[in-house]
Symmetry: C2
Subunit: 235 residues, 2 copies
């Protein structure tokens, strides 16, 4: 039986693999990071990761999913990105002018980067800090792809693009099996990230399903045909 306060071993391994593959972290540094992990912050689904300090804080996600989003005056939402294990997110103090909030989609385990690295040996600290910053930069550069997605692609193309992105990210951290992976979100979340209505997301998913390119159902994507998706992303 798992102890409630112990981190599930495999969770941290996925996160470590992801950070290492994105940032080129050396095996030695990854190993020291694994031993440094803690204290683990746990959030339930639907929680806001907000920095209590006036300055933003970096958080490294060990398990679970989160998203960056903003609620508009009229109650609609725009989701900016999804964050998975191994990703670094910028948790900001809550205030009106904040560009976005980080909200958990499932229960989430993460660590505060500054706090964790503070206990590292000097030799490790610089390298680990570099890796964490780079991971954040990589996530930020995905925003260019997202703007192209919203500005220049049709509904089916946006969906194909999103599924490819998520597939590749999760594949890198070993969370894809046989072209299937868990994606614990609803069609409404997909609508909010792609700037579409839920109804149309549903219809576009059906299109992909009928073409045997991918199936999304009940929080799981299966039957991914990556090459086929790439084709229908472009036209």
């Amino acid at each position: 039986m798992q102890q409630p306060s112990a981190l599930h071993r495999t969770d941290a391994e996925h996160a470590l693999a992801g950070l290492a593959s994105v940032t080129g972290l050396s095996a030695a540094s990854a190993e020291s990071l694994r031993r440094l992990i803690g204290p683990i912050e746990r959030y339930p689904a639907g929680a806001v990761l907000s920095s209590i300090a006036p300055a933003p804080r970096l958080k490294w996600i060990l398990s679970g999913w989160a998203c960056e989003m903003r609620v508009l005056p009229d109650g609609r939402r725009q989701i900016f990105s999804f964050s998975a294990p191994g990703d670094v997110v910028l948790s900001r103090p809550v205030n009106v002018s904040s560009p976005c909030s980080v909200v958990t989609l499932t229960s989430v385990e993460c660590v505060d980067v500054a706090q964790t690295l503070a206990r590292a040996k000097d030799a490790d600290r610089a390298e680990l800090w570099r890796a964490m910053s780079l991971a954040l930069t990589v996530a930020e550069e995905r925003r260019y792809e997202e703007i192209i997605r919203l500005g220049r692609r049709s509904a089916v193309q946006r969906l194909a693009d999103l599924l490819i992105e998520l597939h590749d990210r999760l594949d890198r951290i070993g969370l894809v099996e046989n072209g299937s992976f868990n994606l614990p979100i609803t069609q409404e979340h997909i609508a909010d990230v792609l700037g579409l209505s839920v109804v149309h997301v549903n219809r576009s998913l059906k299109t992909l399903r009928l073409k045997n390119l991918a199936t999304f159902r009940f929080g799981r994507v299966s039957g991914i045909d990556r090459a086929g998706l790439e084709k229908s992303r472009e036209n």
Copy 2:
């Protein structure tokens, strides 16, 4: 008669005012920066600001306009942002995987930030470097607004939002006079930043013009009704 190699005095003043107002640069630091400016890099309209070094370089724009953009495989463009005097842009080495290139829209005068600050006194350098980095961060955070624009707003709302953004940015650097400012771009550029067709941009501009909210013609925006634009941005 103006010497070809001399910087037009007022240009640098606008850029300095912009940097100071965005980053809270002290008057003393702004003054030292003004004396440090140089050597000035000049680009004709349509040039690509690419870093020769393998690493990206920060450039500080003194005069002229540029944009961050990417050309898609099918030849269409997505423009990510417009950059005006006082803005800091990240000039990247040209290669396939680069998220975007910086392209000039007019002739542009700028300086390399690292090169310019290298000649600063130690006391100034840290403060000036902080300001330049902050200016870049502010520009990057505008991307959240842009995603909302593309994901959740109609054509007229996008246009209103864009005009408000540009008005406020140019107002801060003293380039707005009587609700008018120069915007040396074509309707096609507007289409490419808003993810619309040129034809529809034209019709939406007409809508704003008929409502007396703003007029864009031949590279100049006039008759801005900021409050009115803000209303039509939201519904």
